[in-house]
Amino acid sequence: MAFHLEFAPVLDLTPELIQATWLTLKLSFSAIVLGSLIGLLATTARSLMPGKFRVFITLYVETIRNTPLLVQLYIIFFGLPVLGIRMPALYAGLLAMVINLGAYSAEIFRAGVESIHRSQVEAGMSLALTRTQVFLHIMLRPAIAKVWPSLASQFILTMLGSSVCSFISVQELSGEAYTIQSLTFRSFEIYIVASVIYLVIALVLKLLLGALGYLLFMLRARSNRVVSTSEGGQA
């Protein structure tokens, strides 16, 4: 079996690949920002609102987490127009990703909030902080710091999940790869190239999120510790 990898026909289409990669990046970035915002709102609502709301949020989280992203995408893109709600493929894809990440991140945030010990909350209350202040400063912030690694992996999964948008003809990286395959017939080569691009994005994203987590949480925790030891020295 004579078989040679021939990357030239694929690399001739570099501009198309760059454009598609850019779309994947934009799509993933928007989904990550909006999705974690939804997750944060859902967790806040679950903690601060009365019990009735909790049922709805749990329903949302469990339904989304236990059905495939692809089927959610089909319901939004093919199903909603039946009810009169129409949108372009790109926005349908983004909406599906946002709803999906919203549920996953809500669950991650919840785990973080639940890990905060009751005595911390009571201590905050006894210092006459309001419920909202206690939630924001004593529960949420340390909770996010604690679950940051899980959150980071979830963001990477969301980025990888953007490939599913190609199923409804969004020309992001996977969609473009499929098109290039049908133009050049170099299927092995193009999918290797696309996979390498995804891998690079995933690794860079991992590094960036790690650095961001360090800046947001570790650095501050360290400076706090420095302050408290210097106070201790004075006493």
Binding site: T67, I75, G79, L160, S163, S174, F188, Y191, S195, L199
Partner: protein, 218 residues
């Protein structure tokens, strides 16, 4: 022939959900066997073996399942190995499972206390025997909740193979939609069937996790 979504369609969807489960089982069996080898190799004393498996996990976890599927279906066909869709799909899903479970199980093995290794070594067990009688039985308990949790992800990700026209639940949904033109009803039904499969698994995973936490706290 256009007709409205009826009982026959529903039965077709349920039957196709059977294929979703078959794909899940095959990928779990093949991928799980691979994952066991990977997780042990990942902790091997040979540097080359350790680094090779680490690289494998990073690579597979860094690319979408869809790309793995395209590589094993279109890619291998192009290279002269023309696999039937169902085989290519099983291959792709098994590779996916092997990297994720391999990583989960590596963590489980590592979380067994060092002293267990030292104690079993002092009893003159070989490394193989240490794994067989001391380490693995303990790591299974730690690994079980996240493994069940991952299987939920697997069930959902089998939907991706619909693109190479393996008739599992999602593909069946597309076919029914093509004849009924009732996408909302059809895909919500498909989603409900996935929910019926996945929700009990999610609950089981959480239950196992809580149980193991109680056990550890005691």
């Amino acid at each position: 022939m256009i007709h409205s979504f009826n009982l026959q369609d529903l039965l077709f969807l349920v039957r196709s959900a059977g294929w979703t489960l078959v794909l899940t089982l095959v990928a779990t069996a093949v991928g799980g066997a691979l994952a066991l080898v990977i997780s042990v190799a990942r902790l091997s004393t040979h540097t080359a073996l350790r680094e090779a498996t680490r690289l494998y996990i990073v690579v597979v976890q860094g690319i979408p399942v869809l790309m793995v599927l395209f590589l094993s279906y279109y890619g291998l066909a192009h290279a002269g190995l023309d696999l039937p869709p169902i085989v290519a799909a099983s291959l792709a899903l098994s590779i996916y499972v092997s990297a994720y479970l391999g990583d989960i199980w590596r963590g489980a093995i590592q979380s067994v206390h060092r002293q267990q290794w030292e104690a079993s070594a002092s009893l003159a067990l070989t490394r193989m025997e240490q794994y067989r009688y001391v380490i693995l039985p303990q790591s299974v308990r730690i690994a079980l909740p996240p493994t069940v949790g991952f299987l939920v992800q697997l069930v959902k990700n089998t939907s991706i193979v619909s693109i190479v026209s393996v008739i599992e639940l999602t593909r069946a949904g597309q076919l029914v939609n093509n004849t009924t033109f009732e996408p909302f009803k059809v895909f919500v039904t498909v989603a409900v069937i996935y929910l019926i499969i996945c929700y009990p698994m999610s609950r089981l995973s959480r239950y196992l996790e809580e149980k193991s936490r109680v056990y550890r706290d005691r």
